[in-house]
C-alpha cells in the first residue's frame, strides 16, 4: 500500500510515526492539558547516572579535562575593581570523540536505539549533534541518516554547516542537505516512516540524561581540586538541553547552590526561517533565535514533550554579540593555547564580563569547548560574513547589528552581557502554556507544575494567569 506523502497527510500521521521512531508513548506521561510527569518521562528509559557513565566509557565519551584559564583570569582581573575577578575554568569538551559535548547526548540515545533493536538512527541537526550521532552510530554499527538545513535558495551553504556535512559523511552517514525551512520535520517523519530508524531527537529523555555526566564531572572534580563547588557555571544556550542536563548533573553531585547562567549570541531581528537572513548569521546555534522561543515554548520540538526545560534551571540568561564571541575565541587561542569552536566560546565571552562582577576567590566554569577547523573558525566565518555584505570592524560591541555589522571589541573591558528579563519570560511561558490549553481551567496541580517548570512560585504563576 502506498501511503499519502503530502505535507498534510504526513503531519496527520505525526503522532503514530513518532511513537514508533522514538520507542516511547508520551501519552503515558500526560496528566492534564497543561501538566505532564517530567521526572517520570526522564526516568522512563531506565538509566541511572552510573549506568550512563558506564555506557559513555564504552565509546570513549566524557571525563574531559577541566582546565583553569590562568592568563584569561589575569586579564580579567587587570580590568576589574580591587578584589574582583573570579577564577575561570573551562571543561574541554573538544576532547570527546567527535569533538563536542554532544557526544554525551548521542552516546546514550544511540546505545538506547541499539538496545531497542533499531537498525539505524536518524536525526535533524545542522550542528555538532549530527556529527556526534553519526560517530556514535558508527561505534555501535548502526546506519545513520542526517538531515541538515544547509543552503539558501542560491545554493550557498553556511560554512559551519558545510563542515558538518563533511564530518557526518566522514562517519559514513547519508546526509540530506536541505534548503531553509521548517519542513525539515516533514522530511524527518518521512525518513522515519520509510526506514524504521530511531529518531535520535535532541529532545528525548536519553538526549538529556547523557549530559548529566558533564555537570557531575564538573562538580566532583572541582570539589576534589579546590574543596568547593563552582560558584557559577556559564552554559551556551539554544534549545536548553545543555542547561538542563548540566544543572541536573551538578545537583546529583550535591552542587545545588551553583548559579546557572545561560549565554546566547544576540541575533535578534534575524528570522530563523528566512531564506534571506539564513546566511547573514555567523553563528548557527547557541543564539537568541533558539534560546528565547525555547524558553517560552519548550515543547515546540520534534517530539510531543521536550525533555530539555531550560526555564526550570536557569538563574540568569544573558546575550553577547557576535563580535564579542569572535574576540573571546581568538583570545582563548592566543592566551591559553586552545583553538576552539564558537559554541563554548559564546559562554566564554559572557564569562569574561561576569567574572569581573565576582570576587577573586570565586570560581566560574565555562562548561564546554568544541572542535574547530575549516568553516567554523573566525577566519572562515568573517570571510563569509564579508562576502554576504556584513560589515566587519573594530569598535564598541554595542554598535553590533545582527545581519549588518560585526564589531570586534577594542579591548576586554568593552565586553558586557545583556541580561534577559527572566520574570517577563516566565510570565510569557505561563501565558503560552495556559493559552495552548484553550478552554481548560488550570487546577492547583497545574499551577504547581507551571511554577516548577518556570523556576518561579505558585504566587507568581497565579499572578500570570489570564483573568
Amino acid at each position: 500500500m502506498t501511503r499519502d506523502t503530502s505535507y498534510a497527510a504526513v503531519m496527520a500521521r505525526k503522532n503514530e510515526i513518532l511513537k514508533a521512531c522514538v520507542g516511547l508513548d508520551y501519552a503515558l506521561f500526560e496528566r492534564s492539558p497543561i501538566r505532564f510527569d517530567y521526572e517520570g518521562l526522564l526516568s522512563s528509559p531506565g538509566y541511572s547516572l552510573a549506568e550512563v557513565q558506564r555506557i559513555q566509557a564504552e565509546t570513549g565519551v566524557g571525563r574531559t579535562p577541566l582546565v583553569e584559564l590562568r592568563n584569561t583570569t589575569d586579564l580579567v582581573r587587570s580590568i576589574s575593581r580591587a578584589g574582583k575577578g573570579a577564577r575561570i575554568f573551562v571543561k574541554d569538551e573538544r576532547c570527546n570523540p567527535s569533538g563536542s559535548f554532544k557526544d554525551r547526548r548521542a552516546s546514550l540515545s544511540v546505545y538506547h536505539a541499539a538496545k531497542l533493536g533499531y537498525k539505524g538512527v536518524a536525526c535533524g541537526s545542522s550542528g555538532n549533534y549530527a556529527a556526534a550521532v553519526a560517530s556514535q552510530a558508527a561505534k555501535r554499527n548502526l546506519r545513520t541518516i542526517i538531515l541538515q538545513e544547509v543552503f539558501d535558495s542560491r545554493k550557498v551553504g553556511q560554512p559551519e554547516i558545510l563542515e558538518k556535512t563533511r564530518t557526518c559523511e566522514a562517519y559514513g552517514a547519508e546526509v540530506w542537505q536541505l534548503s531553509v525551512g521548517p519542513e525539515l520535520f516533514y522530511v524527518m517523519l518521512r525518513v522515519a516512516e520509510e526506514t524504521g530508524f530511531f529518531n535520535a531527537s535532541l529532545w528525548i529523555p536519553t538526549g538529556i540524561l547523557g549530559i548529566e555526566t558533564l555537570g557531575y564531572e564538573v562538580a566532583v572534580e572541582m570539589k576534589e581540586r579546590e574543596g568547593r563547588f563552582p560558584d557559577a557555571v556559564v552554559i551556551t544556550n539554544a534549545g536548553g538541553g545543555n542547561v538542563t542536563g548540566t544543572t541536573r548533573g551538578l545537583a546529583k553531585a550535591g552542587s545545588t547552590k551553583t548559579a546557572i547562567i545561560g549565554a546566547s549570541v544576540d541575533l535578534r531581528g534575524l528570522h530563523m526561517a528566512s531564506d534571506l537572513d539564513f546566511n547573514r548569521k555567523s553563528f548557527t546555534t547557541g543564539h537568541s533565535g533558539f534560546s528565547v522561543p525555547f524558553m517560552t515554548l519548550p515543547d515546540r520540538t520534534d517530539v510531543p514533550r521536550n525533555a530539555a526545560r531550560q526555564l526550570r534551571y536557569l538563574d540568569r540568561a544573558v546575550f553577547v554579540t557576535q563580535g564579542e564571541v569572535f574576540y573571546a575565541t581568538d583570545l582563548l587561542a592566543k592566551l591559553e593555547g586552545l583553538d576552539r569552536g564558537p559554541a563554548g566560546n559564546t559562554s566564554l565571552a559572557a564569562a569574561l564580563a561576569i567574572a569581573r562582577e565576582m570576587d577573586r576567590d570565586e570560581i566560574l566554569v565555562v562548561q564546554e569547548t568544541e572542535y574547530t577547523g575549516a568553516g567554523k573558525l573566525p577566519s572562515s566565518q568573517l570571510t563569509f560574513a564579508r562576502e554576504n555584505g556584513i560589515e566587519v570592524r573594530r569598535g564598541d560591541p554595542r554598535e553590533n547589528v545582527p545581519g549588518k555589522a560585526i564589531v570586534i571589541p577594542e579591548g576586554p573591558e568593552q565586553i558586557r552581557v545583556e541580561d534577559l528579563d527572566l520574570a517577563k519570560i516566565r510570565r510569557s511561558y505561563v501565558e503560552k502554556a495556559v493559552g495552548a490549553a484553550a478552554g481548560y481551567r488550570p487546577t492547583e496541580e497545574d499551577v504547581r507544575f507551571l511554577a516548577e517548570d518556570s523556576k518561579s512560585t505558585v504566587e507568581f504563576v497565579r499572578s500570570a494567569l489570564p483573568r
Partner: protein, 102 residues
C-alpha cells in the same frame, strides 16, 4: 569538467521536496517564494547519466534514492578563510597586556 557519470561514481542528486505553492503556511514570504530542496550523495546505480538526468543512487546508509543528477563528486570547498586582521590585532593586544617576553 566531466559531465557524464558512470555506474558506481559518487554523485550528488537533487530533490525538490516541495514546490513553492506546496510549502507550509507559517514561513516568511522570501522562503515561501522558493522551492524546498534537498541534495544527497550516493553511488550511481544507472549505467550512465548526465547532469539533470533522473537517476537512482545508493547512499552511504545503504538505501536507494531517486533524484536528478546535480553533480559528480562535488568538492568540500568550505575553507579556513582569510586571516581576520582586526580580530588578530585585538587579541594580540589583549595578550600583550599580560606582559611577558617581547
Amino acid at each position: 569538467m566531466v559531465d557524464e557519470a558512470r555506474r558506481g561514481d559518487l554523485v550528488q542528486i537533487h530533490i525538490v521536496v516541495f514546490r513553492p505553492e506546496e510549502r507550509t503556511a507559517n514561513i516568511p514570504d522570501c522562503t515561501k517564494a522558493v522551492p524546498y530542496e534537498a541534495w544527497v550523495k550516493g553511488f550511481l546505480l544507472d549505467e550512465s547519466a548526465r547532469i539533470g538526468d533522473p537517476v537512482r543512487v545508493k547512499t552511504f546508509a545503504g538505501r536507494e534514492l531517486g533524484g536528478d543528477l546535480a553533480a559528480i563528486n562535488p568538492a568540500y570547498d568550505h575553507s579556513f578563510g582569510k586571516p581576520p586582521v582586526e580580530l588578530i590585532r585585538a587579541s594580540l593586544e589583549g595578550r600583550d597586556r599580560l606582559g611577558g617576553a617581547g
